[in-house]
Every structure is written in C-alpha cells, then in structure tokens.
Amino acid sequence: MNIKYIAKKTGTLIITLLIVSFLSFLAFQIIPGDAALSKLGTAATAEKAEALRQEMGLNQPVLVRYGRWLADFVRGDMGTSYSYSMPVREMIGSKLPITLAITMISFLMILILSVPLGLLAGKHEGKSLDRALTVVNQIVMSVPGFFLGILITYLFGLVLKWFVPGGYISYTESFSGFLIYLIPPCIAIALPKCAMGVKMLRGSVIQELQSDYVRTAISRGCRENTVLYRHVLRNALIPVLTFWAMTIADIVAGSIIIEQVFTIPGLGTMLITSISNRDYPVVQCIIVLIAGLVVIVNFIVDLLYRRIDPRITGQ
C-alpha cells in the first residue's frame, strides 16, 4: 500500500477527529447552567460562582477553552466527575475494556455467522433454503436488541438456567468467567445485525453471480464452490464492508442498552448514570471516545477497501 495515500488519509482522520471532538465539546457548552454552578451545587452565590468561573477559565472564548480541554485530554487529563469528584480517566479506564470486549465478541459473532449464511442464501437463491433463511432473517431483523436480551435472559437464564442473570463476573476476578458471561448479551446484540448482514451479503452475491467474470470462471472449468470463494466472495464483500463499519458503531450504541439488560457495569451503564446525574465531564468524555472510535473504524475500512478492491486509487 502506498505511503502517500496512508499519510493523506491519516491527515483527514486527524482533522475529522478534531472536528468531531470540537462539536461534542461545543454541545456541552450550551447547557443551561454552567460548570461552576454545577460544581458549587446548593452553596452557589453569584460571587462565588463568578470567582470559580474565573478560576476555571470559563469566561474565556470557546476556542481557547477547547484548546485547553484538548491539550488536557490528549495528555490523559479528562476532567473531574461532578458526582464522584474523581478523575474521569480513572472512572473510564476500568470500564473501557468491558465495552471493547463486548464490541469485539459481537462483531466476531456477526462475521462468523453472516458470511457463510449470506453466501449460502445467495448461492441457492430462490430455493427453499434461501426462502426459509429470508423469512427468519426478516423476523430476527425486527427484534430490538434489548428485547432479544430479555428473551434470552428468560429462556436461557431463568428457564434453562444456563447462566445466572445479573451474575456479572469482573475480568479482574476471572477472565474466562467474564467472557462466558458476555456471551448472551453479545448474542443479543449480534443476532439482529447478523440478519442484516446476511441480507446484504445475499443481495451482493446474487448480483455478482450475474457477472461476466463468473461465466469466464466456469468456462475455465471452475467448480461451483471455487467460483463462489475465489471469484465472487471478494467482489461481493466490497459493498458489505461499509455496512460492517456502520455495524461496529451500532454495536457500541447497542451495548449501551444491552449492558442495562444484563447489568454489566461497562461504559454504557456509566454513560446512562452520568446522563441521569447530569455529570457532564463524564458524558462528554464517553461521547468523545465513542465518536473517536467511529471515526477510526471508518478510517480502517477506507484502508481495507483499498486492499480488497484494487480499482480504488489514491484519489
């Protein structure tokens, strides 16, 4: 891959990250009642608030405040929680691995399930296998992740007793126990997305199977499966790649809710608590982190596109 292209893309990445972080910073500046008042709580008087504002630099222009906030953020100082008077970084540091683990496991599940099923359905288009898959797909796609989580809790947790609902095990305690507890919530996140993935890939495979190069491959004596895996798969994945990038963002968003269903103390739970407590430094930090993740995933997908589709040039 060419260095210039990567450098250019990295430049765009940094600019996007700056814009996104500035917008999230700005969003929290328009909140009625400022940080000084929040910090003082009931003890607020006009003079005290003014003094604290001066001290916190709240009277300076937005851009200056953003610059300072960014410099602190990059250095690892992500502010202090209003509710817990604790550095936000410490609060988030221990939660981040949980959400990352959920995201990764769910994403792997989606890949492992949707690719073979999508290929299978596309290959047998119109046959009973494809029809059955399409119907199941359509239904699964319509189930909200958190309701699926409740159903799983009921069926596998309460009736079959395969896991203990609410029995979250911290990764510091037992890593394998932690991973096992994450399986049901990850399934709840992954299944609906997986159904969409199957639908996308199926459509893409059906379209690619009509291509001339497929005819060429058969005329060379390729077996059906060779045509599918060597020729069609890579072409069919190109449009699906964008969907996967969006899926990662969706998984993170979905995990916010699923964490509540399975009482997992991850980033999502903290975000919701902080929103209820109006603990803005924490909310802002989590939002910026997730936004950063979304931007970085898009960046990686851009690079992947280039690898998988040689037609895309540096422009």
């Binding site: 996007t16 814009i19 996104v20 999230s24 969003a27 929290f28 328009i30 909140i31 359509q138 239904i139 796609m141 319509s142 189930v143 909200p144 958190f146 309701f147 409740i150 159903l151 809790t153 009921y154 309460l158 609902p165 969409m196 639908k199 996308m200 459509g203 893409s204 379209q207 449009p239 969907f243 990038a245 969006m246 963002a249 969706d250 993170v252 968003a253 979905g254 916010i256 809710i257 509540q260 269903v261 975000l271 919701i272 902080s274 929103i275 209820s276 109006r278 803005y280 909310v283 939002i287 997730i290 936004a291 979304v294 931007v295 898009n298």
Partner: protein, 273 residues
Amino acid sequence: MKRKERNYNLILGGCLAALMIAFMVVGLFYTPYDPDAMSGPSKFAGPSLQHLFGCDHFGRDIFSRVLTGSGTTFFVAVSTIVIGGGIGTLAGAFTGYFGGWLDEILMRINDAVASFPSILLALVFISILGPGKYNVILALGVIFIPSFARIVRSEFISNKEKDYVKSARLMGASHVRIMFVHILPNVVPTLLSAIAIGFNNAVLAEAGMSYLGIGVQPPDASLGRMLAESQTYLSRAPWCAVFPGLTVILLVLGFGLLSDGLQKGRGSVSCWR
C-alpha cells in the same frame, strides 16, 4: 427474467403496518381498562379473557397499557417523521435543485452525522435537554433530518435534468413551482420508503431510550419502560415482557417489509438500521 412476481413484501408489510397503525391510533383514544388503575387481586394475573395480555406487578391491565404505550410510540414516531422528514425534504430539495456551496457544506455535515448511530446522538441531545417525550421527539427529529435530506437531494439531482422539468421551465414555471409541483410527486415513492425506515428507527430509538429511563417519562405509558419494569418480575410474569416486546417486533416487521416492498424493482439492496 421478466416473470411477474407478486410483491409479497408490499402486501404483507402494508397489511401488518395498517393493522399496527390502527392499533396505535386506537390506543390514543380508547383502552378497555384505565391503564394506570391498580388492582390488588389481579396482581400478576396471567393472560385470560378478561385481561388478554395479563396484568403487571400493580395489577394493571397490560393490554390497556400496551395500547396506550403504542399510542405514545406512534405519537413520538410520527412527530419525529414530521420534523425530520419535513425539514429534511425541504433541505434536500433546495440543495439538490440548486447545488452550490451550501450543498457542499450540508453534505459534509450529513456524512459525519450519518456515520454515527442515531441512538448515540439522541443520548447527547437528551443529556443536554433532559429526558421527556417532547425532548425525545426534538432530538430524534433533528437527528433524522440529514438522512431524509440525503435521499431527497439525490432524487432531485437525478430529476432536475429530465425532460419534463426542462419543458416546465420553458413554460415559465418558477423554481419553487418546479420543485414542489413537478419534481416532488416523482420523489414520493422513494420518500415513502424512507419514511417507513425512519418510522422504524424512531420506534426503536424511542423504545430503547425509554427502556434506559431517559426517554418518555411517567405518567406517559411507554413500551420501553414497560419492558424495563418487567425485567424485575421476569420469572414470575414473563407476559409483562412478551407482549410489549411483541408489539415492537410486529411494528418494525410491518414497516420494514413495507419499505422493502416499496423499494422493490428499484434494484437496490435495502437494509434498515
């Protein structure tokens, strides 16, 4: 390849969606029981002829609660579509028809917003505005503007060069007249499909936020909140969870099929988020 195939998606989706809309509209005006009336004896009563969907931990009739909850959901989703679809269509029509620097800027913002999951953006809004039905509508409405704008914009771009627009221009029709009398009706099929998808997204987002306790607030009934409450009594009264959840599924399924059916024949691989 010309074999006529019945558009089952459209038929099935249309019927299901119509049924669910009827259900939700009824929920706005009528319920068999007072959805908030508590009753000791019928606490955790299972589904029966008297209480079709059973009763919850306060002995409230779940069928009535699902009806009013659906009504709230319907109200939120429709208001969201009106805000997002209305402003989005206007923005898309103007940027698509006129192009130029405004178009450039709006599309860049669009791209940025589109890559973020809507529920996350909604959470940012809610954390600033505070929870509640109207704030949810405002947040979701604003968030949906870009997606409508994008769809309408691309339709306007492809339509504005067509002959019927050129002839209308020759007849001396004004830009506004061309946009809304001539082009807009041609955009309607695409717009309808987008509305169905948007409706689904709104239903899912509202249910999700209410489940988290930061969406619709009591006394307004909401399916998401019912699901959250039901979790505590899941082993005792699973029907408290099943019926609100099923309602959401049928809603999303109906509108999803409808949107697929509307898109069929346009050759696009569709997917809703």
